[in-house]
């Protein structure tokens, strides 16, 4: 019992200590040296200290501040990222939509930047432009400064062009042609695996439960990849006109196609537990990939083929090229935020401003020391030292278009971007990623949401993988289960927020 007494004393004091540590926001005293922790993803470069010293020599003199990059490592990175924010160990932090930027910002993880930028980073504000910044706003508040390098990451199908040519098959630019292409290869090479597909890993995926279902992006001009969550959909030209996909006849028809493909043996019957990773395509163990592809992956496959299998050829068709829906990646794809609870908000803003608006500094952070780690030959980046590679601090959030040194592979990439830019310019909202800026607040119906996601795993995945005998019956069962799980609440909540968002930004 004595122990209990002491325990409670400690409990109470600890509580007070922690709650005080959590709340207060101290004023930044510029005369005091600030050591800013900059939390970024991935692993540290070998020459971390060398480059940091070079950076800090400048920062120390200019702002009486130093930067210490801390790396998440790729093990459990989402969990550690959230823990880092909770424990307040960082000052500046990398943000991205795939790290739930919107949700975290809404929950108050980052500092409001409007005033800070005005006062301490006016050049950065001017360089970014209000349009870019507005895309990072959550509930009207600005929480992040995006990377200033436009990039396209449209979904598409990556396939073996050499096989297509060899057997004189059609280009896979529609569902019929894809089927003909797959079936053609299967016919000539019965042992060749067509697709390695698996249950959708993506944690927040509430529209697709099986990878291959990504293919339907080629059929519908949806506003976003795989349309909207909860089986809702809207077309890019009319984003605020939400319609029901799961309960439509189209859905049943699509699922019958999946069943047909599964029966044709396009993917394994054990696909739902497949330990698939993207090595398969590069090693010729699949002839196409239809989920999670983008121009950069095509280029890396093409490079791998050139190296290991010169007679193979990889080609890439984005779904947007077929449907005419094309837009660049959203601003929140890569960005920087200041962590709430930092002791040096002003210094953070000043340093960020300098990192992104000073070319020398920007290049130092991204590529290391010129002459030691890299050189520029004919305007192309060349690495000199393995100890600091291209963008080795993983600060994709500090990319600035004017300062970014292209790599060799970037030439091909840029060519693709230019083509997409042209297509995107013809759409109704030229080159605007409409869905990317939307953050759903599901706190009102989070339990229904979890139930829906569970039903999707259990009932939708086998349907999309074509592993059921009777599509109509399975769809009926799925519809019934998902309704019971509270689908309507999710849909009502989502639609209301989505329409309000469309109205606010004039996407009508």
């Amino acid at each position: 019992m004595k122990l209990l007494k002491r325990l409670f004393c400690l409990l109470v004091s600890l509580t007070l200590m922690l709650s005080l540590a959590g709340g207060a926001l101290a004023a930044d005293d510029l005369s005091q040296e600030a050591n800013l922790v900059f939390y970024v993803m991935g692993d540290a470069p070998k020459d971390e200290a060398v480059v940091e010293d070079a950076i800090n020599a400048i920062l120390k003199e200019k702002f009486n501040a130093t930067i210490d990059f801390q790396f998440s490592t790729w093990t459990d990175f989402t969990q550690k990222y959230n823990t880092q924010l909770t424990s307040g160990g960082a000052d500046l932090i990398y943000i991205a939509n795939w790290l739930d930027y919107g949700l975290l910002a809404r929950a108050g993880a980052f500092l409001e930047l409007d005033d800070l930028l005005n006062e301490y980073a006016p050049e950065l504000r001017a360089l970014a432009g209000e349009d870019m910044l507005n895309m990072c706003r959550v509930e009207g508040e600005l929480y992040a400064v995006p990377a200033l390098w436009p990039e396209y990451v449209p979904l598409g199908i990556k396939y073996r062009e050499d096989l297509r040519a060899k057997y004189d098959l059609p280009y896979p630019d529609s569902l019929e042609h894809i089927e003909a292409y797959f079936a053609g290869v299967k016919e000539h090479e019965p042992d060749q695996v067509i697709l390695r597909a698996t249950a959708s890993e993506s944690a927040n995926s509430l529209n697709v439960a099986f990878d291959t279902a990504n293919i339907f992006n080629i059929k519908y001009p949806w506003v976003a990849g795989n349309a909207l969550p909860y089986g809702l959909a809207a077309n890019y030209d009319t984003p605020d006109q939400v319609y029901d996909y799961w309960f439509s006849d189209d859905f049943v028809e699509d699922m019958k196609l999946m069943k047909k493909w599964a029966d044709m043996g396009f993917w394994s019957k054990s696909a739902l537990s497949d330990t698939n990773d993207s090595e398969a395509y590069d090693n010729g163990l699949a002839i196409a990939e239809v989920a999670g592809m983008n121009p950069n992956k095509q280029i890396s496959s093409a490079n791998n083929f050139a190296k290991d299998h010169p007679d193979w050829e990889s080609a890439y068709i984005t779904y947007g090229e077929v449907t005419g829906v094309m837009y660049p990646g959203h601003a929140t794809q890569n960005g920087t935020a200041i962590v709430r609870g930092t002791k040096y908000p002003e210094r953070c803003a000043m340093v960020l401003n300098y990192l992104m608006t000073n070319q020398e500094m920007n290049n130092l952070v991204q590529y290391g020391i010129e002459g030691k780690h890299y050189e520029v030959v004919d305007g192309i980046y060349q690495n000199l030292d393995e100890n600091f590679l291209y963008e080795n601090f993983n600060t994709w959030n500090l990319r600035v278009n004017d300062y970014k040194l292209p790599q060799e592979s970037d030439v091909a990439l840029q060519a693709m971007f230019d083509r997409y830019n042209e297509i995107g310019a013809k759409s109704k909202f030229p080159n605007v990623n409409i869905y990317g800026g939307f953050t759903e607040d599901y706190s009102e119906y989070e339990f229904q949401r979890t139930a829906v996601s569970n039903v999707m795993r259990q009932y939708l995945a086998p349907i999309q993988a074509g592993l059921i005998d009777d599509v109509d019956a399975a769809v009926a069962e799925f519809r019934q289960k998902v309704t019971e799980a509270g689908l309507q609440d999710c849909r009502d909540g989502f639609t209301e927020q989505w329409k309000a968002y469309c109205e606010e930004y004039g996407y009508q």
């Binding site: 600890l14 509580t15 922690l18 709650s19 739930d100 054990s270 537990s273 569970n454």
Partner: protein, 497 residues
């Protein structure tokens, strides 16, 4: 103090207070404190509601619904309704202490009436000890309430909170009753030749010294972080941070009710029972077999070999298993087709998986658990066996009447130990073998995999994660308390604590 031998004899038979007057007084005190805990008494009153509610930034409509006097058990709903998360943790801890206090105070008369403790020859000692615990906690509750009002007033800068008269009463009465109880306990102890903490400490101080590292470790590593259970009742946000985020009551527990909780509970418990029972039986079986291998080298080698699966991580196991059971090119289906049978669709047939999962669990864990039994067998004196051999006992009889009985205590402890975690699962095993394959969930979904799926689809779901953990813990706690109680009744040697 002299006690007549007559009274001593009587009191030794059944518990009876030595000092009747004192006992009546103590009873009155305890009853009074217990009564004051009743929710009808107002522990915390709101005095200057207008100023207070404006300091809390409450709208008039929201403020109107709030009463102005609260008992210690209802104050959390004030925290919830007024959205003042900052008061949440404090009130939460107070509530827990108050519950503990009420529990002990109510248990004391119960122990007296049912003669608890008499059987062990401890007479009234248990009653007094319960009283003291209860009174101590009631004092902490009252003092904590006082502290809460002071803290709240200084936080909001208005003197809006005040303690009710019952708080002051308890603050005065509890210590007095505590001292009284102490005094009577001392008399009783002399009678029973028992000693208290101080004597025990003086006698066994070195044992306390041995325990210091243990206390430090568990305090830092387990007990202090236990504050975290509070998160199960809050909705976390970074503005208010850990201890001021809004208190939301049982909202985080709702998702457990929506899920097929019975189904999950059944799966989890069944798997665990099979794992525990079959696992231990096989571990014992193989430990006994190995101990009977005559050649040292063989014995060592086979034991090492059986231990090896422990080093195969589940990530690798997943790949191996998929290679074996895949439909088109898996090893098993290759074999099956080569002998002219139909392929087996493992990954779409839930029925196979309970067997497979159990099989792989056993495969991986037999060697590890076997070490414990081997070590126990090694510790058995060889004299037993020699004597048995002289008496003509054959090998089965030796195992049956010497080895197995001597392994029993270890088995029971391991069994008991595992029971507390009966609602927790071998997450890695299930997650890696089954993955996201929804078709198999019917037979393979356990509590941990379900919660994992839910929390990864919801970032910032700390509340839900903690809530489900709390549910599992409570379940295990009840199971373990019950079993331990039963075992202690039958044979205290085997009890876990």
């Amino acid at each position: 103090m002299t006690v007549s031998s007559e009274r001593l004899r009587r009191a030794a038979g059944r518990p009876e207070p030595l000092n009747k007057k004192g006992f009546v007084l103590l009873c009155a005190f305890v009853a009074l404190v217990l009564i004051l805990f009743l929710p009808v008494f107002h522990w915390i009153r709101l005095t200057d509601t207008e100023a207070l509610f404006s300091a809390m930034k409450l709208k008039a409509s929201a403020a109107g619904k709030l009463g102005d006097s609260w008992s210690i058990f209802t104050f959390l709903s004030f925290v919830q309704d007024s959205k003042q998360g900052i008061l949440g943790l404090w009130s939460f801890v107070l509530l827990l202490i108050a519950c503990a206090s009420a529990f002990f105070l109510a248990a004391a008369p119960f122990a007296f009436l049912t003669r608890g403790g008499a059987a062990e020859g401890r007479g009234m000692l248990r009653v007094y000890s319960l009283c003291q615990k209860g009174l101590f906690f009631s004092f902490v509750t009252a003092a904590g309430t006082l502290g809460l009002t002071i803290f709240a007033n200084s936080h909001y800068g208005v003197s809006g909170f005040a303690c009710g008269w019952c708080v002051w009463t308890v603050i005065v009465i509890s210590p007095a009753a505590y001292l009284l109880s102490k005094r009577m306990e001392r008399q009783e102890r002399e009678l029973r030749r028992e000693h208290g903490f101080i004597t025990e400490f003086r006698r066994n101080w070195i044992l306390f010294l041995f325990l210091v590292p243990c206390f430090v470790f568990f305090l830092i590593n387990n007990y202090l972080p236990m504050i975290g259970v509070y998160f199960a009742f809050t909705q976390f946000n970074f503005r208010d941070h850990l201890f001021a985020s809004p208190f939301v009551g049982f909202k985080n527990f709702e998702f457990l009710l929506r899920s097929e909780i019975l189904h999950l509970t059944r799966n989890t418990i069944l798997y665990n029972i099979v794992f525990i029972v079959v696992g231990n039986v096989l571990q014992i079986l193989f430990a006994v077999l190995i101990s009977h291998v005559t050649r040292t080298r063989l014995r060592k080698i086979s034991q090492t070999m059986i231990f090896m699966p422990y080093f195969v991580s589940y990530v690798i196991l997943r790949v191996l298993v998929f290679n074996m059971f895949e439909y088109e090119v898996g090893l098993i289906n290759n074999f099956v087709t080569s002998i002219g049978m139909n392929r087996i669709d493992f990954y779409n047939t839930p029925g196979y998986w309970p067997w497979l999962i159990t099989l792989f669990y056993l495969w991986k864990n037999i060697g590890y658990g076997m070490v414990v039994y081997l070590a126990t067998i090694t510790g058995i004196s060889t004299e037993y066996y020699e004597a048995a051999q002289i008496d003509g006992a054959n090998i089965y009889q030796q195992i049956r009447f010497i080895t197995v009985p001597l392994l029993k205590p270890t088995f029971i402890i391991l069994l008991l130990y595992a029971l507390g975690s009966i609602m927790k699962g071998q997450f890695e095993l299930f997650y890696q073998l089954v993955g996201n394959n929804g078709t198999l969930f019917e037979t393979t979904d356990i509590f941990d995999t379900y919660v994992y799926r839910i929390t990864t689809t919801q970032p910032l779901s700390m509340g839900m994660g903690t809530a489900s953990g709390l549910f599992q813990s409570l379940f295990g706690f009840i199971v373990i308390l019950t079993t331990n109680f039963i075992i202690k009744r039958r044979n205290p040697e085997y009890a876990l604590f």
